[in-house]
Symmetry: C2
Subunit: 231 residues, 2 copies
Amino acid sequence: MANTSWQDVRKEVLRKIEAEEWRRGELIPGEMELAEKFGCARVTVNRALRQLSDEGFVNRKRKAGTRVAVNRVQKATFDIPVIREEVEAAGKLYSHEIIRKQMVPPPKGFAGEIWAAEKHKLLHLRSVHFADKTPYAFEVRWVNTSTVPKIAEVDFSHISANEWLVQNVPVTSSNFAFSAIALKKSEAKLLDAESGDAALCVERATWNLSGPITSVRQIFKPGHTLKTKMS
Amino acid sequence: MANTSWQDVRKEVLRKIEAEEWRRGELIPGEMELAEKFGCARVTVNRALRQLSDEGFVNRKRKAGTRVAVNRVQKATFDIPVIREEVEAAGKLYSHEIIRKQMVPPPKGFAGEIWAAEKHKLLHLRSVHFADKTPYAFEVRWVNTSTVPKIAEVDFSHISANEWLVQNVPVTSSNFAFSAIALKKSEAKLLDAESGDAALCVERATWNLSGPITSVRQIFKPGHTLKTKMS
DNA sequence: CATCTCATTTTGTATGTACATAAGACGAAA
DNA sequence: TTTCGTCTTATGTACATACAAAATGAGATG
């Protein structure tokens, strides 16, 4: 039977929006009315409109109805790959090296905020990632050993801290910050670049239900580009 | 009546995942079974699991069942604000200035790819955004006048190209690229910075059903940070 | 042993119905 | 006029039911 599916409804509504038959900010017909027009159940229309709402194309409010979004917020969703996978996807050989590993008190600077409530020492790691033995990125990381006690025993010669964490600790939320920095002498040396070169810097802090897990600052080799797609 | 809502189900399933009662890659009970356990309809469980699937916590396949996601892909979703709003949100006065406006053939470099199929000339704009009269970002933009003919008549002294496009042209998909660049002399001058300074560069190309709309390269003043949250 | 077919299982979706909930609208009271 | 309730209305959700579609796995066939 060719029932009208919620996807059909979604598609048609989207078409009308894109063709500007229904303009920005405009109130579109109610679910009942649409259901009748499409010859389907109200619940089906509901499903379609809910989807469109999730996608940001329309805004819905009880009693007020459904309106075409005025400024469809430009949302970019992107996948933060584990560096190893990123390197291997480019057909290169991945390796990494731990430069420093020690217990230190919580840092002040950037991710200082997330560690605000922490009083005990954190595991501090500095490492370099390589692609075909060439430096690819440099990272500085802090890990909360009270929420992730097991990490103390991990041997990072085989697996990177990031990857171990991704595989072993479920994360519920995180923050990101992107910026450009001029490489310091020491950083430049590690990345096989020149002091003062412009490098992309991604800072990230992740949380669990039980508290902060890790914060990391990754500095990519000059010239590196982070790409993503939105739909 | 306190019926168990799909949100309750979602929450409980999520809890079990985070508490590692159900481990990564593990198959979780079928919808029927869960429905019985929760004392609700299968459809309700379905709704909850579908949501969790959308959020990337589980993977579902017909016949195969639902399993806890192995590597919950680290997805960062962030809102690309219109620069004016970003500036005003910081409590500063926004203004902008068009430096150049002309019709040119499609560019080759970066966004060359999206313009590959275009043969006629594009509207080319260069402009600077200011916050409290201080340079904030510099942008270079190409607009497809065949998909967006109306733009030819717009007076950009009152509204920026980006904002006009956001308000007037529905977009269905786009690409992003983040990188760090060293400012060229001319760029530095516009941004009131030093030549060679590290600046964050965001490149973006957007599409419609009818084809490419615009590509833009925004270079932020050195020191600028782009922040986002994931959940 | 390889491969193809088909039954079975599990998720996906459509429907009618019923009730819940938010919030706009409108009128009564101060 | 303002403020406070209350009515109304559109969306949100729950349920039972039924059937669709995908993918696995077992059994038949070469």
